[in-house]
């Protein structure tokens, strides 16, 4: 056997073959360092340059599913669509309840809010320069409601008379659906029932118009899958127009010169980055690559909170985190048992020590709105009552409760909450046999849909600021109900509320309905959401909003005075 070893008497010979190892390694490291230094010799960061060029750079969660308003349902997708399109009514930069005129200059309802007339501005234009007319809106509503379109969120338009029947294919003639163009500049919406909050509803992405000529140049009206959404083809009517879309890399929108209010638009463009990992996003923010993050890793919240002039933003969000109970399966089929579970959760412990994002412990289901609806109920930790309900449910102590499972979709955050609740139920009620089962997202959804669970984790983000968007889904047969719960009382109260046009009386009726929900507890509310994110100080006119639907038209970028956080 040959062993090569260093021959100290002739260092030149045997040590030479050994050189390339560290030599090449060192060389490559030097090259690496030189290359790196060369690229790092930039004076300004991306966000600084972008602020100068007035391009807002923002993290936007996941890759958009589509840029067609009739095909999307996620929050991130809606963010992009708000830059590309404008609805009849637009979002106000500072308030969730004030309505900002969009394509409609003004609007008016009849006496009982069941018919709305929108008066469209004459100078509204598509990004190709063509005028936006009332007919475009009729075409768009026809498209999203068309059964063959199978738009996932078509039900948002069921407010329109006969829309549901048309969408289900029970009605063939779209002329019978309650939307009509009177000339080019007046749109009349006739509703199934009074809706005093209708202007809030039409702000939603599903009510955005699409350009008929563009859609039909690339296919027929109901095509789900054509090239019209691509840069170069895409036509919108918003303050910005699509300029680039690269999957998993970015969506870029730039100033739309044809926009009717182009002079008021402050930014030259917005770049949306689909960064799914919260950790990557936080680093990108620290690195000066984005002005704004979509979310924030929970374990870094505390550190950011302690910072001076922290870029951390924690804002109330229009969402509710809760557990569904399957009322068709033991042991959660017993209302007293569900009450015991709900009263044995210390919600403040969960928001303070588990989620840590400034969430509000939920004492009802619908998140309270400052100017409007307040949910009834004072759900909270009450061990005496919880014990009593447990006994009434037929269990002398928690040990007798048959084994059941908390079903969650795979996520560290959901698991931590479930473990905390499992522990509270064990300690507070003595229920020892509780399993936590996690399933991958789509499997989880199927299990919930099939009703093959006892308790399952859930979350709901409101589509508009009105309790209807939270309470509507618990009526019998709603496709989001999934608990098996059905209450004639609740259904009646919800129906009655829908006929009331006076906001105060309507809220009172809805609160009565919610009281029924909170008494029977097919769902156990846990907390109300917050939006936790990082915001660069250069970003102007960015105000806390319950719906988090920012109108990019009003956002501005201006370098902050030096000395602030980077």
């Amino acid at each position: 056997m040959l062993r090569l070893r260093r021959d100290r008497t002739r260092p030149g010979r045997l040590s030479r073959p050994t050189l390339p190892g560290p030599g090449v390694a060192a060389l490559s490291f030097v090259l690496f360092a030189v290359a790196a230094t060369a690229v790092s010799c930039r004076k300004e960061t991306r966000v600084e340059r972008a602020a100068r060029e007035k391009i807002l750079l923002l993290g936007n969660g996941a890759e958009p599913k589509a840029l067609d308003p009739h095909l999307v349902s996620s929050v991130g997708d809606a963010n992009i669509l708000r830059a590309l399109f404008e609805g009849l009514v637009a979002y106000h930069p500072e308030s969730d309840t004030v309505h900002e005129p969009g394509v409609a200059e003004r609007w008016a309802a009849n006496e009982d809010f069941s018919q709305w007339r929108f008066f469209l501005r004459a100078d509204a234009k598509w990004s190709n320069g063509e005028p936006v007319t009332a007919h475009d809106f009729v075409y768009s509503y026809h498209r999203i409601l068309h059964p063959e379109m199978a738009a996932p969120y078509a039900s948002m338009l069921y407010f329109l008379k006969n829309a549901e029947a048309f969408n289900k294919g029970e009605l063939e003639d779209f002329a019978e659906v309650g939307v009509e163009a009177v000339g080019d500049h007046e749109l009349v919406c006739t509703l199934e029932r009074p809706a005093p909050f209708f202007p809030d509803v039409v702000k939603h992405t599903t009510w955005l118009p699409v350009h008929r000529g563009t859609i039909e140049r690339h296919g027929v009206m109901t095509d789900n899958y054509t090239d019209w959404q691509k840069p170069g083809n895409h036509v919108g009517n918003g303050p910005f127009a699509l300029s680039e879309w690269r999957i998993n890399a970015h969506v870029k929108v730039r100033r739309n010169p044809h926009y009717w209010d182009a002079a008021a638009v402050k930014l030259n463009g917005v770049d949306f980055y689909p960064i799914e990992s919260a950790f990557t996003e936080e680093k990108a923010f620290r690195n000066g690559l984005i002005h704004l993050s979509y979310t924030m890793p929970e374990n870094l919240i505390a550190r950011y909170r302690e910072m001076e002039d922290s870029p951390l933003r924690i804002e109330t969000y229009n969402g509710s985190y809760f557990y569904r109970c399957n009322v068709k399966k033991a042991p959660t089929d017993n209302a007293d048992f569900r009450r015991a579970l709900a009263l044995a959760i210390d919600r403040s412990v969960i928001v303070d020590y588990v989620t840590r994002g400034g969430q509000t412990p939920a004492h009802g289901f619908t998140p309270p709105s400052e100017e409007g609806y307040q949910p009834p109920g004072d759900l909270g930790l009450d061990l005496a009552k919880a014990g009593e309900h447990l006994r009434r449910a037929g269990y002398a102590d928690g040990g007798e409760v048959p084994e059941f499972t908390i079903l969650i979709n795979t996520s560290e955050a959901h698991k931590n909450i479930a473990m905390a609740i499992q522990d509270m139920w064990r300690k507070n009620l003595g229920i020892s046999r509780i399993r936590i089962e996690n399933q991958e997202w789509k499997v989880f959804q199927q299990t919930v849909l099939d009703g093959a669970y006892e308790v399952s984790r859930a979350g709901w983000i409101g589509d508009y600021v009105d309790p209807e968007t939270f309470l509507g889904m618990w009526v019998t047969g709603d496709s989001n109900n999934n608990t098996g719960w059905s209450s004639a009382d609740y259904d009646r109260l919800m129906r009655e509320s829908s006929l009331l046009s006076d906001p105060a009386r309507r809220y009172a009726k809805l609160a009565e309905a919610e009281a029924v929900l909170l008494d029977e507890l097919p769902v156990i509310p846990i907390y109300w959401y917050t939006r936790v994110y990082l915001l660069h100080p250069d970003v102007r006119n960015w105000h806390p909003l319950l719906l988090d639907n920012r109108p990019y038209k009003h956002i501005d970028l201006e370098p902050a005075p030096k000395g602030g956080p980077r």
């Binding site: 040959l2 490559s28 790092s40 039900s155 998993n248 990992s277 950790f279 690559l289 959804q445 496709s479």
Partner: protein
């Protein structure tokens, strides 16, 4: 058996393997619970039915399978369900070059670091140098990329400011991605090289060469090297395929729009056509690489041909 026949039979084997992979993937994807049209906010039943009709999922499965095969033969991988408006071909065409650049750079780095380290360690077997190098390599193998990648990002991007920490366009984050992959694979290659170099160095012809007075450098790089790197060449095929298709973690940490992300997301979205498409592309890649490696090895070492 002559070379041409050997290659032909390997080609036939590869095609058969590809057919099996395509078929199994198609049916496995459909067996998974849940479906592409489930959403957090439930989609009404009548719309789900219509969506299935729009995409042909209402047809009997065997028929869908045959239609799929027909399209596949024509090179059409179908529409992506999770990226509406994009075909699977477009999705892959956009992401593949990113992964290829990342993978090739990573591979070059892995070879440049790994082979000399392995040769060096073998030449200095059981010395401190050997232990140090192999210790590093062991650490490299044991540390998963999801640990190395954030550390590199934290240090070289955020601390030193040499690179960007994320994003693709106009960003230097991909270099860190390539380095992460390169370091990881260089550790394997170093160990592999060391082992096979030791084997070769212990053979008679090396002793003969030494006895005849050949210089050690010549022995290492002329006599032993060709045989010593043969296993590395065999490893290159799967390594490159793995680098290109399996860089999900690196892509996710550095926010790069590569193929790896689609692998994971397609599966979790139940984006059936994208699942089939990415798996097919990956399979073709591995089979092609293995085929190439076979050819290369047949050329490097005639015995492997004769053995067939």
């Amino acid at each position: 058996m002559d070379t041409a026949r050997f290659l032909l039979s390997r080609l036939a084997q590869s095609l058969f393997a590809l057919f099996c992979i395509v078929t199994i993937t198609f049916f496995l994807a459909r067996l998974a619970p849940g479906g592409p049209f489930l959403d957090e906010k439930a989609v009404p039943e009548h719309l789900v039915e219509q969506m299935k009709r729009n995409y042909g999922f209402d047809q009997p499965l065997p028929r869908q399978y045959l239609l799929y095969l027909g399209r596949l033969v024509r090179g059409d991988l179908g529409p992506s369900l999770g990226n509406k408006g994009f075909s699977v071909n477009e999705v892959i065409a956009e992401s593949f070059p990113v992964s290829l650049a990342l993978g090739l750079c990573g591979l070059v780095l892995a070879l440049v670091l790994g082979i000399p380290a392995g040769v060096f360690a073998a030449a200095r077997r059981n010395t401190r140098v050997d232990y140090a190098l192999m210790g590093f390599a062991m650490v490299g193998i044991c540390l998963p990329t999801f640990v190395i990648a954030p550390l590199l990002g934290e240090f070289f991007a955020l601390r030193l400011g040499w690179f960007d920490v994320a994003l693709w366009e106009g960003s230097t984050a991909w270099i860190l991605g390539a380095v992460t992959l390169g370091l990881y694979y260089s550790a394997y290659i170093a160990r592999l090289t060391r082992g096979s170099m030791l084997d070769v160095l212990s053979q008679d012809f090396v002793r003969t060469a030494k006895a005849k007075g050949a210089r050690p450098l010549r022995i290492l790089f002329v006599h032993a090297f060709r045989g010593g790197v043969a296993p590395v060449v065999a490893f290159l095929g799967p390594a490159l395929a793995g680098l290109i298709g399996g860089s999900f973690v690196v892509e996710s940490v550095f926010g790069l729009p590569g193929l790896g992300q689609h692998f994971i997301k397609a599966a979790s979205n139940r984006d059936y056509w994208l699942i089939n498409g990415t798996v097919t592309v990956f399979a073709v890649l591995i089979l092609a690489m293995n085929f190439l490696v076979d050819v290369l090895q047949a050329w490097l070492d005639p015995r492997s041909r004769a053995a067939k």
